[in-house]
């Protein structure tokens, strides 16, 4: 009971600053200190959100963007996870691929946008490719790091107690690598949104980024601000889900023990 209360109040504390800023912003707009052509009042943004929701345009664009983000994440994340596991478990695989991967990693994936447009035009593949590429590296590196940091003493214990390779992986290596995998997941989610925003802003015919660019054409600052706020909220939502999963699966970890 009191534990729930402290959790609620702790969460409330986290939201105090954003809510306070929005209040200050609203008051400044009402007093005319902020011209609406620079920054419309929060109430105007909410008004725009309402209009776009009732016309169906906003839900559709959110849906399109979310689908792109998640499918790109699924593709890039699973390739990153697979290669991270392979290179963490097999030194042959690592020697074969790690040099190449490290070279590719040092190319900012957003620098590929011109090439990607040439390859795929402004179709879905372009966005999918960029998101997948952006998500790949944090997942790959953290998976590799997680497997590297498995306590060799525990692996030896597993062998001494007759675990075969599969059991050893499932019961010792994977759980030990899990905290690091979650770091990669949360980092990748951030990159996922970032990449998608940039890709949709530059080349798209639907989605939140496209909506913002269209609004800029028509000088609808309120819609531009709305898109930005939505990116923040969607990013926060993704991170919260990841943290919830993290807390549920790392209950044994002293750092995640629920107070």
């Amino acid at each position: 009971m009191s534990a729930l209360q402290t959790r609620l109040s702790r969460n409330a504390l986290g939201w105090a600053l954003p809510v306070g800023l929005v209040l200050v912003w609203e008051i400044a707009s009402r007093l005319g200190a902020l011209p609406t052509t620079v920054l419309p009042a929060p109430s105007d943004v909410i008004e725009a959100a309402w209009q776009l929701t009732s016309s169906g345009e906003l839900p559709r664009n959110i849906g399109v963007s979310t689908l792109r983000a998640l499918s790109g994440f699924a593709v890039g994340g699973s390739i990153g996870l697979a290669l991270g596991l392979a290179n963490g478990l097999s030194s042959l695989s690592e020697r074969l691929t790690d040099t190449t991967l490290q070279m590719v990693r040092n190319v900012p994936h957003l620098a590929l946008i011109p090439l990607v447009i040439l390859w795929f035009g402004i179709d879905e593949e372009a966005k999918l490719f960029l998101v997948a590429l952006g998500v790949f590296f944090p997942i790959y590196i953290n998976t590799l790091l997680g497997i590297r940091s498995v306590d060799p003493q525990l692996v030896e214990m597993g062998r001494a107690y007759g675990m075969d390779r599969r059991t050893l992986f499932r019961r010792v290596i994977l759980p030990a690598a899990l905290p690091s995998l979650f770091v990669g997941l949360r980092y990748a989610l951030g990159i996922m949104w970032l990449t998608l925003i940039v890709a949709e802003t530059i080349s798209a015919s639907s989605g939140l980024g496209y909506m913002a660019m269209q609004a800029r054409e028509f000088l609808r600052v309120d819609v531009v601000v709305l898109s930005i706020v939505l990116y923040a909220l969607l990013g926060k939502l993704a991170d919260s889900i990841a943290r919830l999963l993290e807390r549920l699966s790392l209950q044994w970890h002293p750092a995640f023990r629920t107070a």
Binding site: Q153, L154, M157, G158, Y161, G162, M163, W252, H253, R257
Partner: protein, 280 residues
Amino acid sequence: MSDTVLHRAELGLDQASTQEIEARTSSSPPAWPAPGLAVTVRGLGKSFGAKRVLEGVDLEVQAGQFVAVIGKSGCGKSTLLRLVVGLETPSEGHLALGDGDTQHAGAARIMFQEPRLLPWARVLANVEVGLDRRMPAQERHQQALTALHEVGLDDRAGEWPAVLSGGQKQRVALARALVSRPRLLALDEPLGALDALTRIDMQRLIERVWRDQGFTAILVTHDVGEAVALADRVVVIDGGRIALDIVVDSPRPRHRGDARLAELEGRIIDHLFNDQGAAI
């Protein structure tokens, strides 16, 4: 020596009667007899690269015997133990457990200096690591609980290892080693990291389960007092060879500070720090 043998025989009877009681109450799994495994080592040598850690080791451990292996750090005593349980392969020589055909799972178990519990598994699941995974879950839980009961931690079965004290963790590790009723228990300085009182507690616990279950025990330690208090026989390793092999025939239960044990302890320490080794 003969005292000890007689004592063990009596205990064997004890074990049979407790088994009957358990069968009658029928809640516990059967405590099948786990006679010790003899260990035969001939001309055993181990090198890591150019470094020779052990050479020409001959050792004959009788079934059910409690042998302590002591020596200065780096003398190869841990390597000997790891060779016995198959964590290392010999570079030369011959090593056999029992009559040589005892490769079945769980016959030989090792307890390390660190508890090496899986932090992401509850205490009960950690003990179950010692059991065959093909065993039905219900039976696994039962046997793990029985093993936890033996080390006095059955009330902590549902805890995470992180909340246990160092001594408790090591007791869980002991339960994990014992749950498969091993015929040989290898102990690699398992009490080295514990405080003095917890240590004495653990020594008594290890002695008790060894007497109850009759497995062969090989204890590697750097504590000479611990060696003479627990073992039937103390083997001193120096420079990769067996330098001394003494029978400790004081009757059990032994008392700390016993004059005969203290005298023996003194002799071993003298030997360890006397390079000629001819004084004995």
